[in-house]
């Protein structure tokens, strides 16, 4: 599915660097033109040699830079899919659970009242579902993504501080950290509402 992903990401920079290569041709003719006096011994020729050294240094730096650019792009392409997969697998289930909350409350709010009452007997619970729908509906995917990103950063920070601590009660800390996340709060709210509503069954995954 994401086979051409690396190309999409880097084709632009690739073209850019090709263009640079094209506009800065490496002139090799000038060396040959005065090649006849390269190995002379006079002062003037020594000076010319040091000029030549500088010229070579410049060209060699240039080759280094060109090589670097090419290597950078090749390296990025080589690791892009791997990095993408890591990120994808890290977020897709969180997005999925959050999406269930969104889809479930949305579809429920679209049902006619009589049906809602059959599914959820108590008015109070229906109101809670309604409230959750309104909250969730006001959160755009972009917002949700930001929440998620904050969670990822926080989890990373916590992981690091956990590593510094003794690893004896890591599992306890993990539970705490997932509990304080924005998105998981909504997931948790739906979960507890569903537990109280035996007529409705959801595939909200239990972690």
């Amino acid at each position: 599915m994401e086979g051409s992903f690396a190309k999409e990401l880097y084709s632009e920079s690739l073209q850019l660097s090709n263009a640079e290569l094209g506009t800065e041709p490496i002139v090799s003719g000038d060396l040959q033109d005065d090649g006849g006096s390269l190995w002379g011994g006079s002062d003037e020729e020594l000076e010319r040699e040091s000029d030549l050294d500088r010229e070579w240094q410049r060209r060699h730096d240039q080759f280094h830079t060109i090589g670097y650019r090419g290597g950078l792009i090749a390296g990025k392409e080589a690791s892009a899919q791997e990095g993408f997969n890591i990120g994808f697998k890290q977020s897709v289930l969180a997005g999925y659970n959050w999406g269930i909350v969104r889809g479930f409350t949305s579809a429920l709010s679209c049902l006619p009242n009589a049906l809602k009452e059959r599914l959820i007997e108590e008015q109070e619970k229906r109101n809670k579902f309604r409230g959750l729908y309104e909250t969730v509906h006001s959160i755009s995917t972009t917002d949700a993504l930001k929440f998620f990103h904050d969670d990822v950063l926080r989890n990373k920070a916590e992981e690091q501080s956990e590593h510094a601590k003794a690893s004896s009660d890591v599992s306890g800390i993990n539970k705490d950290s997932s509990g304080c996340s924005h998105l998981e709060n909504y997931v948790g709210e739906l979960q507890s509402l569903l537990l109280e509503s035996p007529e409705i069954k959801s595939h909200l995954s239990v972690k």
Binding site: Y68, G75, N85, K89, C110, K201
Partner: protein, 145 residues
Amino acid sequence: MNSQSQSQSTSVEDIFDSSLNLEETHFKEGYNEGYSNGLMSGKEEAEQTGLRMGFEIGEELGFYRGCVDVWNSVIRVEPTRFSTRLKESIKKMEELIEKYPVLEPEDESANEIMDSLRLKFRVIRAGLGVKLEYDGYPKPKEIEF
């Protein structure tokens, strides 16, 4: 004179030889340096993209799952509420969701399944006569982490 010109031509070749070799060496040095930096930065950049896309795809798929869960609950309490055709569509949609390779971002069947899901969703939505929208799609705007 003869031998001198020969030695000259040899040293000229040597110089161009070593010049070419040096250029190649510098190119390779630069390339290797760039490659290892690219491996690291490329992985990090792509990871961010993966985080974003994984979340978005997960959200959309979850959205459909949540809808199907509600509709299935309706079918359970009132089996005759929806038409047979509608029920079939809902069943088909559920199968598609279950078939979706959630944890396989490289699976090429994913796009096709998502397209079918979107189509089915629209069909069911029309059948129900409700205004139900997945707001996350199409994506509102590009987000930077």
